[in-house]
């Protein structure tokens, strides 16, 4: 299992793909950082907050994660290397987990690059680390769900581009869920409203970005990730049985 994990990480860092994606991420992050700084004037310096930057980045980040995951299974299926993995002594759950954890590792690496900004700020002022760590945690957990979904799509579609596009659509859909939950129509039906808001990731992420750590949210993100990863495992097994 470790061999596959290592290979996935290596293939990511040995290709320009990793650096292009990481720099895109850094660019997006620094743009929101710069505009947050530029917005400061006179006495409103308290307006500047990292959690807000995270919250803004949430929307850009939606476009990056599907690109990160799109190739994970699609390329294996295309290149015929899936045979190598499935005929090796590794079981399907181990294959999926190895790939999942390798992408999570890359994701952590990308998040950690953004530590540059708070560290830079810490040299010139005060950073509220407890709130910041909470925001990072929320960002990370939300990313886990997106990675699991992206991998599932890569596996189901077998085509990197289609997987990325459908991934974007689903992420957009999840964001749209919040807007929809806030409409008068949904508000007229409290039960429907409670279901929709329960699934709303943005709301849960908001708690984290405000420095509020709730066990409920932690369990929500982790269990959702686990469900999607299991779905992926079952989908691979099913495909082996039904198609060539």
């Amino acid at each position: 299992m470790f061999a596959l994990y290592k290979k996935e990480i290596q293939s990511f860092f040995f290709s320009p793909f990793a650096y292009v994606l990481a720099s895109l991420f850094m660019f997006v992050f620094s743009v929101s950082f710069i505009s947050a700084i530029a917005d400061l004037s006179g006495t409103n310096t308290l307006k500047f907050s990292f959690p807000n930057i995270f919250y803004n980045n949430f929307f850009y980040f939606i476009f990056i994660i599907p690109i990160l995951t799109m190739r994970s299974f699609a390329d294996e299926r295309r290149g015929g290397t899936e045979v190598l993995l499935l005929s090796s002594p590794l079981s399907v759950p181990k294959i999926v987990l190895a790939k999942f954890f390798s992408i999570v590792t890359i994701y952590i690496f990308m998040i950690l690059t953004t530590l540059f900004f708070p560290i830079y700020i810490a040299g010139h002022g005060v950073v509220q680390w407890s709130a910041l760590i909470c925001a990072y945690l929320g960002f990370f957990l939300w990313g886990l769900v997106c990675i699991a979904v992206g991998m599932l799509l890569s596996q189901l579609t077998g085509n990197a581009i289609i997987a990325a596009i459908i991934g974007e659509i689903i992420m957009e859909g999840l964001l749209f869920l919040d807007l929809f939950g806030a409409t008068a129509l949904v508000n007229a039906y409290p039960r429907l409203n409670s279901v929709i808001t329960w699934f709303s990731m943005q709301r849960r992420f908001l708690y984290f970005s405000q420095g509020m750590f709730r066990l409920e949210d932690l369990i929500f993100f982790l269990s959702l990730t686990a469900v999607v990863v299991c779905w992926n495992i079952i989908a691979i097994e099913k495909r082996r049985y039904s198609r060539s």
Partner: protein, 333 residues
């Protein structure tokens, strides 16, 4: 070593493989012969544990491929039809990864990778990116991958397709060499290839086994039907009469005039090789021989004959000899 019982695979409502059973013995090279689309690759994928079967079992070295998948798969080295290589990796890096994937102990990885590269003479290519290798070398890298982990069983799905003649003979030599300490199952749709390498052969068509027999029997069956293509120059009637008088010559068919006093015909040889006798008789009667060549049955003809029988499971010789009618055109080899 490998036991296949009643193996069946359905893709939706189509049966790709219909209840086949055979075994691969310890240290033998088993040929798996069939035309394209006969179910060869599906069967091999099932033996290697890539595809699960709809029914039936595969037991490798005592381990069931679905129940004890990990143990069974450790005994198998598999080279699929398309070598499963990552184009972005270097040869050595790829082989090290495969060794890790197969659970080779860290201390043994280096020596195993080295010996696999040596066996396939790709040691010079170790630093090359796989995407830049030719098809033949990619095939070799895939082959090297199958040898890692020192598996007892090697499953090779059409390993010579797309290679040039020199490489084909190299690969054949390698398979023969590997057959000394491995059980090998090797598929092909080329009869000559199977007979050059294997000891036993399983013939499959439309997902069913038509015959399981030794290669000697296969050759004998084919020889028993050996035909001779002759192109002669001279008196046609005399030549035919002379030919018919020779012992061991059966029917003479397909007599074609081709102008210039030349004609061609097909002579059936019944038992022993009487080519030298034919030659001396014809030359003594001033009939010159323009061309003389052996036309063995091609795989297609073997299939036509066997499938025309509509039965399976008996030996090849029976199947081939019982056929009353001959396929019309015997292709030249």
């Amino acid at each position: 070593m490998v036991e296949i019982k009643n193996l069946t695979k359905y893709y939706g409502h189509n049966a790709a493989v219909k209840g086949i059973s055979f075994e691969i013995r310890d240290g033998e090279i088993l040929g798996f012969l069939g035309p394209n689309g006969a179910g060869k690759s599906t069967t091999m994928n099932m033996i290697a544990g890539y595809l699960p079967s709809t029914w039936g079992t595969v037991t490798v070295n005592g381990f069931d491929i679905t129940e004890q998948a990990s143990d069974a798969k450790k005994c198998i080295g598999y080279l699929p039809e398309i070598p499963p290589v990552y184009p972005d990796m270097r040869v050595e890096e790829y082989l090290r990864f495969c060794a890790g994937l197969k659970g080779v102990k860290r201390a043994d990885v280096k020596s195993q990778v080295e010996s696999a590269m040596e066996r396939l003479s790709i040691t010079d290519m170790r630093r090359r990116l796989i995407r830049n290798l030719s098809k033949g070398y990619k095939q070799r890298v895939g082959f090297a991958q199958a040898l890692l982990g020192d598996p007892k069983v090697l499953i090779l799905d059409e390993p010579t397709v797309g290679l040039d003649p020199a490489q084909v003979s190299e690969v054949r030599a390698l398979i023969r060499e590997l057959g000394k300490d491995h059980s090998v199952i090797f598929s092909s749709h080329i009869l000559a290839e199977i007979s050059a390498v294997c000891e036993r052969v399983v013939i499959i068509n439309k997902g069913e086994i038509l015959a399981v027999d030794s290669i000697d029997n296969l050759e004998r069956s084919l020889m028993a039907d050996t035909r001779l293509n002759l192109t002669l120059e001279g008196d046609r009637k005399l030549a035919i009469r002379l030919l018919k008088d020779i012992r061991g010559v059966g029917e003479i068919t397909n007599i074609n005039e081709s102008g210039d006093d030349r004609f061609s015909c097909e002579v059936e040889l019944q038992s022993e090789d009487v080519r030298s006798e034919i030659m001396s008789v014809l030359v003594a009667n001033k009939i010159s021989i323009v061309e003389m060549s052996m036309a063995k049955l091609t795989l297609e003809q073997v299939f036509l004959k066997i499938t025309a029988q509509g039965k399976k499971g008996s030996t090849l010789e029976d199947l081939l000899n019982e056929t009353p009618e001959q396929p019309d055109a015997a292709e030249q080899e």
